[in-house]
């Protein structure tokens, strides 16, 4: 059943948190009053100019925004060399890796932490996969003197050690999660278990556009700064809007932040890139490509699961993409056909990681390396005046050990 094509792709969700049939509020009763309270406070904050002013100030002076829109000249040349018939788009990077803490995650975290302060919450919990959201949350909590507890799958604690160390330095308590597959979804389960237990003083700072309503919309709104800046910067650089956008997808927050402001410019091609792991016919983390609709972590969306509705473990070389679900708005954008969802394997991401480092002097995180892998291919098929923006969602320092392992040591 294909959903109706709406007049605007930017009006969702409805008041019950639905994007088409996706989203919603599938949580235990204990949490329901809390997410309703959060929704009320968020709606009020959104309308309060003082909230926006405070967030803008932090984004400028603490995060270092706006992040540059950078013409990746040598990567563009590389794509043009591979292209036939004189093709090859102009590739720009949206440099989210230059943000304080090294990824887009801080945009959302500061919004949520300011909200937590308004709500009088003193204890912040978060889940993290790659550790970038955990680091961003620990950072904001340090800045504002808030208690911070980060749930992280024990497997991820192992493969993202530098970020665990950073969180510790920032004064956060990192709790290794030993249940389930010990990765991001289990960290999210454990954070939810904490939240049902500590309902009075605790704010759950979710790191992506997933979870029960209002999180998918709220996190998206906080990340939309990426797309809004891109619009202004591209107009300044080229005098017109981009022709295509491309971003990697874990839960989908960096992608949604770039895409959302452009959804109603229908001429713009938009690509999301999921993690194909060992390959889509093997273990992977591409929920849209390999999953089906189901209900997990408070929302209906595409999930990797078996025939009986048991959630399956994803696999990706990138801990930040290793999640068996995806934000509900992406599920809806897929079904409406507005966004095209592709995937890239571990090996393709590793190759793009190295390519970007060597050609541009930028070591990307493994997550955006997935987007880069598809970007170079797509660029090679586009005309030379095609303007493409790749969201460089994070820097790769955290991944050096993982990459070294895969490349056979340094």
């Amino acid at each position: 059943m294909k959903p109706e094509i709406p007049n605007s792709f930017r009006t969702g969700p409805d008041e019950r948190g639905h994007f088409g049939v996706y989203g919603g509020r599938f949580v235990a009763e204990t949490l329901m009053p809390l997410i309703l309270d959060l929704e009320r406070h968020y709606e009020a904050a959104k309308r309060d100019p003082a909230f926006k002013a405070e967030l803008d100030h932090l984004l400028t002076h603490y995060v270092g925004r706006p992040s540059p829109l950078y013409f990746a000249e040598r990567l563009t040349d590389y794509a043009r060399e591979k292209a036939t018939g004189g093709r090859g788009a102009k590739i720009y990077f949206k440099r989210e890796e230059l943000n304080h803490t090294g990824a887009h995650k801080i945009n959302n975290v500061l919004g949520q932490i300011l909200l937590a302060r308004r709500m009088g919450k003193s204890r912040i919990i978060a889940e993290t996969g790659a550790g970038q959201h955990g680091v961003a949350t620990a950072t904001a909590c340090a800045k504002f003197g808030l208690e911070c507890i980060v749930y992280m799958g024990a497997v991820d604690v192992e493969r993202q050690k530098p970020n665990v160390f950073r969180m510790n330095m920032l004064g956060a308590k990192v709790v290794p999660v030993l249940s389930g597959a010990r990765t991001l979804k289990d960290a999210m389960n454990e954070a939810l278990r904490d939240w049902v237990t500590n309902v009075e003083n605790t704010f759950y700072c979710i790191g992506t556009v997933a979870g029960p309503h209002p999180y998918p919309a709220m996190v998206r709104d906080f990340q939309c700064i990426i797309g809004e800046e891109t619009r202004a910067q591209m107009l300044a650089a080229e005098g017109r809007l981009p022709d295509s956008l491309i971003a990697c997808i874990g839960g989908g927050s960096n992608a949604m932040g770039l895409f959302h402001p452009f959804l109603d410019e229908r001429q713009i091609e938009i690509y999301g890139v999921e993690a194909a792991g060992y390959g889509l016919d093997k273990k992977h983390a591409a929920s849209l490509a390999g999953g089906r609709p189901g209900v997990l972590h408070g929302n209906r969306t595409y999930l990797l699961m078996d025939g009986d509705g048991q959630i399956e473990e994803g696999h990706s070389i990138s801990a930040g993409l290793d999640y068996p679900g995806i934000g509900p708005e992406h599920a809806w954008l897929k079904e409406t056909g507005r966004v095209i969802y592709l995937s890239a394997t571990d090996d393709e991401a590793l190759a793009a990681f190295q390519l970007c480092a060597k050609l541009e002097g930028i070591i990307p995180a493994l997550e955006p390396a997935h987007a880069l892998a598809r970007a170079v291919e797509i660029a090679a098929e586009k005309p030379r005046d095609h303007l493409m923006v790749v969201n460089l969602s994070g820097r790769g320092d955290k991944d050096l050990f993982t990459v070294a392992d895969h490349l056979g040591g340094m």
């Binding site: 019950r16 919603g24 509020r25 599938f26 949580v27 235990a28 009763e29 204990t30 949490l31 329901m32 009053p33 809390l34 249940s179 389930g180 979804k185 289990d186 389960n189 939810l192 278990r193 049902v196 237990t197 500590n198 309902v199 089906r292 189901g294 209900v295 997990l296 972590h297 408070g298 209906r300 999930l303 699961m305 025939g307 009986d308 509705g309 048991q310 959630i311």
Partner: protein, 283 residues
């Protein structure tokens, strides 16, 4: 047949609370699980909650998480859980049987199909943790149309403004979660629970069962004196776990490990003096 209503009415006449026992379907395997189910009523269980295992039980503590994983490793599926329910029902025609779990396996199975099969298997009601009143159109309304009770959880965070919505489509009984927290966590504060149950009773004629954190005969007795039912789960699945051999297989003592504890709990519940005037129930 309205087994839940009948059972609570009988117990109201006997002036005692119901002992509601939770075990996970297929834990530690389907055969042992059936043997446990069949033995529960004689040991003193008045109502049985049968867990539908799920990989990601967000409201459950370590004990029930582990029970779910044991069941899944033993090959339990929703279809097998329903078959288990049917086998139990063939053996016991009166003990109310309620399926408890999370929405995704039901959603994937197909809501209508699940409800029809559950009804046919002799299931009396369902408790689905991650379906608050806001999502009633998903399963709650269809369940009631299919003739199954939809038993809702009320919690310490359910305030006066929300309570009408929580009660609106609830049937069978109301399950009061005694603590903010996950299953198997801290012990309930009986004074607080007493006040909470009294508040609920002002708004509903349904029996109120209280669970989360009841572990032994003493705490069961304390709750039984102030509520219409006492739910025990984590303690029972822990008894199963402790009875297993090193490879996680059941031992000859596994069934008795559960029934032994149920007998103790039942003794506690039976000994409890009912401390409040019953409201609204047909006695």
């Amino acid at each position: 047949m309205r087994r839940i209503e009948t059972r609570f009415a009988e117990l109201a006449r006997a002036r005692r609370a119901a002992l509601v026992t939770f075990v996970m379907a297929g834990d530690p395997d389907l055969e042992t699980s059936l043997a446990i189910l069949k033995a529960l009523p004689a040991a003193g269980a008045d109502v049985i909650e049968l867990g539908m295992p799920f990989t990601d039980p967000m409201a459950d503590g370590p004990a029930i998480q582990a029970a779910g994983l044991r069941a899944l490793h033993a090959g339990t599926t929703l279809a097998k859980t329903l078959a288990l329910a049917a086998d139990f029902r063939a053996h016991d025609r009166t003990t109310p049987l309620v399926l408890m779990g999370y929405y995704n396996p039901i959603y994937v199975h197909g809501v209508r199909q699940f409800l029809a099969e559950a009804k046919k298997a002799g299931v009396d009601g369902v408790i689905v943790v991650d379906l608050p009143p806001e999502e009633d159109s998903e399963l709650c309304i269809p369940a009631r149309e299919a003739g199954l009770a939809f038993i809702r959880l009320a919690t310490p965070t359910t305030d006066a403004a929300r309570l009408p919505a929580v009660l609106a489509h609830t049937s069978g009984f109301l399950y009061y979660v005694s603590i903010t927290g996950i299953t198997g966590a801290g012990a309930p504060d009986v004074a607080k629970v007493t006040a909470a149950v009294a508040r609920l009773k002002q708004h509903t004629d349904l029996p109120v069962a209280v669970g989360f954190g009841v572990k032994n005969a003493a705490s069961a007795a304390a709750i039984a004196s102030i509520a219409d039912g006492v739910v025990v789960g984590s303690a029972l699945v822990e008894a199963i776990r402790k009875s297993l051999d090193e490879a996680g297989r059941p031992t000859p003592g596994s069934v008795a490990a559960v029934t032994g504890l149920v007998r103790e709990l039942a003794a506690g519940v039976h000994a409890a003096a009912r401390g409040f005037a019953r409201t609204g129930q047909s006695a």
